[in-house]
Structure formats: structure tokens, C-alpha cells
């Protein structure tokens, strides 16, 4: 990121020299680049966060090794010292202006909290309650995010909640447990969403929305597939519509940096894919496929101009949809041949459409730059 801003600043200097812009504009541009640079992650803070994650993993694995050479009360004491030192030291460093290092120390402290729970489980031979342990860890990390108003800690709490959800959905580490659907996740997600407003963490909210879609997929696969999948598609489409009709108002509520349409499309495509899997052998499939294709087209028309990511997601969804239709309609040779003919035509049209759309949507930007 730093290299990008350096390059832009060099460009600004060159434009100034060439007389393309005046000194005031150059200053304004340079200031804007700097302001935006501070908002994005710097290389240093990424390294600090990676170091913190490695240190956290080292703590957790050290606990798992159950090394007898250090008495376990000493191990507990060491972890408590890391918790105290990490939180307080991180706050001290952050107050001095080294925000990235402070946040990294807090992550280490949160990992030490999780490690302590694991160590206590090991000391007293807990079995089969990874679930409770992970929820406790998640709650502790969310509390830390609240108390310290920390974005990275919020993301960490969401990550732990996601790991818990995945563990529950896959059936867990437990031996004979059947994968029951962890409805508690909705409550956790709502709580963490609320926390993320206070900690101003966009990343946490994006992760939460994606996790909720993942949760609904788990729910749909478990039982009552059709209703849940249709609901997912409808709610996603509604979110998309709200975000397109009143972008400022919806973003003031969800604060996703204007990316709610993207999430809406992901949810819609996921829901419609589930619907089509369910309806694969019935006449309803054609309707579902048509709705999906119409939805993709509508997404491009309504919100494609603002977001390149959304356009590519729509293209990806379209390609997936084609494969799905092929897999379902592949019954007779003649049918398959007919389908290939149709697919060739559709792909040709798609290629033409993508080229046209991309050109049309990037055109105004070029125009503005030239003027």
C-alpha cells in the first residue's frame, strides 16, 4: 500500500512539473493520498499482526504440548502475566501513538486468554466441551474489543465465533455427536455486530454477514431446505434492493462501506443455488434457473456501474449457473447436444455482453480523467 501512495506522489510531482496541475491542486492531491494511506493497512501493521498471530499460535501449541518441565501452576501464572502485560502494555504503547503494535499486543493477550482456558481444561481433564471453551474465549475477546474499542479484537472474536460455527456444523471434534444446528450463532452474530459499531470495524461486519450466509446454508442443508433457501434468496434480494434504492440510508444503518449490494448478491446466488439443487428433478428448476439469471442481470444493471467486484461476482454466478443448468438437463445425447449449442450461443452472447458492459462502465471514468 505504501508503495502505491509513493508512486501516486511521484506522479503528482511529475504532473506539477509538466504544468498539468497547479501547486494548490498538487497539495490537495498529496494530502488526499496521505489521508487515504493512513486508513488502509500499512506494511508494518500487517507484519505486527502476523507476528501477534504467530505468537498467539505458539502460546496455544505450547499449552497443548503439556510440557512437564514447567509446573502447571507456573504455566498458568505465565499466561496470566501475558494477559496482564499484553492488555496493559498494548494500551500503553497505543497511547504513545504506536497503534499497530498496541493492537498486536492485545491480540497476543486474547490468545493467552484462550490458551488459559485450554490449559485449565487440560489440568482438570475436561472432555467434550470445546464448544463451551470456544464460546467463553469468544466472549472474553468480545469483552476486550468493547473495553479497548479495538477493531482487530472484534475481528478476532468473529473469527473464533466462526470457528465454533464450523466446528458445530461439521460435527465437531467430538466422537459420536451428530451435527446439530447451532442457532445460538445468530445471537452471537447480532451481539458482535453491535460490538463492531462501537469498535468501528468494517472488516468484522463483512465477515459477520458472510458467516450468517454460511450459517443459513448449514440450516438449509440440515432440514427444510426449500423454505430456508427461498428465504435466504428473498432476504438477500431485499437487502440488495434497499441498498440500491437508498444507498446512503442503508449504509448509515449497516455501515458496510457501500458493499451491501455485494453481500446481497452473494446471499441471493447462494440461496438460489440451494433452491435449484432441491428442485433439480422437478419442473420448478426451469423457473428457479430463470429467476437466478434474471437476478444476475438485474444486479449488473442496477449496481454494476458502482462496483467492479459486484460485476465479476455476477459473471462468476452466471458461469456457475450455466454449469448447473448443464448438469441438470444432461439427460439425453440429443438434449446435451442441444444444450451445448445453446450454451455456445449464450457464452458468445455473454462474452459480448461482458465486453460491452465493461467498456460502458469504465468509459465515464476515462472521460472524467481526460477532462
Amino acid at each position: 500500500m505504501a508503495s502505491h501512495s509513493t508512486k501516486v506522489k511521484q506522479d503528482i510531482a511529475r504532473w506539477l512539473e509538466a504544468g498539468l496541475i497547479d501547486g494548490m491542486t498538487a497539495d490537495a492531491l498529496a494530502r488526499d493520498v496521505e489521508a487515504n494511506e493512513r486508513r488502509s493497512l500499512s506494511f508494518g501493521s500487517i507484519l505486527a499482526m502476523m507476528a501477534a498471530l504467530l505468537l498467539g499460535a505458539a502460546i496455544l501449541i505450547f499449552v497443548a504440548a503439556n510440557w512437564e518441565a514447567i509446573p502447571r501452576l507456573a504455566r498458568v501464572g505465565a499466561l496470566f502475566a501475558i494477559i496482564l502485560g499484553g492488555y496493559v502494555g498494548g494500551a500503553f504503547v497505543k497511547a504513545r501513538g504506536y497503534s499497530a503494535i498496541g493492537e498486536a499486543l492485545w491480540i497476543v493477550a486474547a490468545a493467552a486468554f484462550g490458551g488459559s482456558i485450554a490449559l485449565i481444561g487440560q489440568m482438570y481433564h475436561f472432555s467434550g466441551d470445546e464448544s463451551a471453551a470456544m464460546l467463553t474465549w469468544c466472549a472474553g475477546t468480545a469483552l476486550a474489543a468493547l473495553a479497548l474499542r479495538s477493531g482487530p479484537l472484534t475481528v478476532a472474536a468473529v473469527g473464533i465465533a466462526d470457528a465454533w460455527l464450523a466446528m458445530k456444523l461439521v460435527g465437531g471434534f467430538r466422537l459420536f455427536s451428530s451435527g446439530e444446528i447451532p442457532h445460538l450463532f445468530v445471537v452471537i452474530a447480532a451481539g458482535l455486530f453491535a460490538v463492531s459499531y462501537w469498535t468501528r470495524s468494517y472488516a468484522a461486519r463483512h465477515l459477520l454477514v458472510l458467516s450468517l450466509i454460511f450459517y443459513v446454508v448449514g440450516l438449509a442443508v440440515d432440514d427444510n431446505l426449500l423454505v430456508v433457501a427461498v428465504l435466504l434468496a428473498l432476504v438477500s434480494a431485499a437487502a440488495f434492493a434497499a441498498a440500491v434504492i437508498a444507498p446512503a440510508a442503508t449504509d448509515a444503518i449497516v455501515k458496510l462501506g457501500g458493499r451491501l449490494p455485494l453481500h446481497g448478491l452473494i446471499g441471493f446466488l447462494t440461496g438460489m443455488a440451494l433452491v435449484q439443487f432441491q428442485l433439480a428433478d422437478t419442473g420448478g428448476f426451469a423457473i428457479a434457473a430463470a429467476v437466478t439469471l434474471a437476478g444476475i442481470a438485474a444486479a449488473i444493471v442496477l449496481a454494476g456501474r458502482q462496483s467492479r467486484g459486484l460485476r465479476w461476482l455476477a459473471y462468476l454466478g452466471f458461469a456457475f449457473e450455466l454449469c448447473l443448468i448443464y448438469a441438470v438437463t444432461m439427460e439425453t445425447m440429443l438434449g446435451t447436444a442441444g444444450f451445448f449449442l445453446l450454451a455456445a450461443l449464450v457464452l458468445g452472447v455473454l462474452a459480448f455482453a461482458i465486453i460491452r458492459i465493461e467498456r460502458r462502465m469504465s468509459h465515464p471514468v476515462d472521460g472524467e480523467a481526460a477532462s
Partner: protein, 193 residues
């Protein structure tokens, strides 16, 4: 700088809350070890594939299978159970091992007598509640964590000799492993902390 001091203060409060919570967890478990009723449970060999996972051995007890006939309060006409807890009354046998004498899905109908103790387990849903079947509760003591690398030898011995677990059971039925026994010989004993 005032903001900075507030931040450091909340970090300190946070650390103390988390450490306090962890200490409370430790104190609760230590209390079960100190004050709980001691029982000796027979460990059964389990499918070797599942026996050792990572740094703990998987323990299956003879009380990990409760014959449905022992359950005193099965509601009439109920075919399978719901997820929930089961209270198993253990009675000390002549050989020193404690075995299941009766069980309840709800609360026990009579208090535990001398040489008896109630232990609370968790059962997942869907076990058949009729005939000569058994159900398999978990008690939260199905693992014994070992120092890295010591699991395999114990796993081998467990298949040829009877092993036991000495556990403490608190008044409300929470069990806590105290020691791993190889016959009469104690292999590992757990300190309070």
C-alpha cells in the same frame, strides 16, 4: 494523554476481569477435587483407532453404557430420548469399583444412600428407550491429558490390563478426574492446582 490514561485503566480492568474469571474456573474445579465424594471407575478399552488423539487418551467407562432398564422414569410411550442430562446413581461394588445402580432422566426420586453417589451425565438425542438396549452418556471425564509422547505406552497397556480412574464427584453430580490407576498402582495423580 487523558485518553491514554483511560485506555490503560480499562486495559488493566479488562485483564483483571479475565484473570479473575480464569481463577474462578480453577477454584471451582479444585473445590470438586478437594471436597467431592471419591469413586473408582473401571475404564474399558475402546476402539484403538479412537483411543489416542493428540495428547490425551480417550477413556470409556463401564458407566459409559447405561442399560435402559436401569432408568426409572422413562415417560410412558416414549420411544427415543431428547437431548439432556441423565443422573446415574453409582454404588460401590465388592471389588472397589463403583457401578451404575439406577438412573433418572429427570431428578432422582430418592436421596443417595451410604456407599452411593449421584453423577450427572449428558446424553444426545435419539437413543432407543425400550428393550435390552443401552444408552451412552458423557460425563465430561472421557479424556486424560498426558505429557506429549506418553500416550502410546498407556494405550498399549490399557488393552491388556484393567485400568481405572479415581474421580471426585461434587454434591451436584459434577465429576472430576483425580488419578489414573493401572490396577492398584497409581500412574498419575492430579494436584489440586
Amino acid at each position: 494523554m487523558k485518553n491514554g490514561r483511560a485506555l490503560i485503566f480499562s486495559a488493566l480492568a479488562l485483564a483483571l476481569v479475565q484473570i479473575g474469571f480464569l481463577s474462578w474456573m480453577i477454584a471451582g474445579r479444585a473445590a470438586v477435587l478437594r471436597d467431592g465424594q471419591e469413586v473408582l471407575l473401571k475404564v474399558e478399552p475402546v476402539d484403538p483407532r479412537d483411543l489416542l488423539r493428540g495428547d490425551y487418551i480417550y477413556l470409556s467407562y463401564d458407566i459409559s453404557r447405561i442399560p435402559v432398564k436401569l432408568i426409572a422414569d422413562i415417560p410412558a410411550g416414549k420411544q427415543t430420548n431428547d437431548e439432556g442430562q441423565i443422573t446415574v446413581r453409582l454404588k460401590k461394588g465388592a471389588d472397589g469399583y463403583w457401578r451404575a445402580a439406577s438412573a433418572w432422566l429427570a431428578q432422582p426420586t430418592s436421596p443417595a444412600g451410604a456407599d452411593e453417589v449421584d453423577i450427572v451425565g449428558h446424553i444426545s438425542a435419539g437413543w432407543t428407550l425400550s428393550g435390552d438396549t443401552t444408552i451412552a452418556p458423557d460425563y465430561g471425564i472421557e479424556r486424560f491429558y498426558l505429557p506429549e509422547g506418553e500416550g502410546l505406552a498407556i494405550e498399549r497397556d490399557m488393552r491388556v490390563r484393567p485400568f481405572g480412574i479415581r474421580a471426585a464427584v461434587s454434591k451436584d453430580g459434577v465429576p472430576q478426574i483425580k488419578a489414573l490407576m493401572d490396577g492398584d498402582q497409581m500412574l498419575f495423580e492430579e494436584p489440586l492446582y
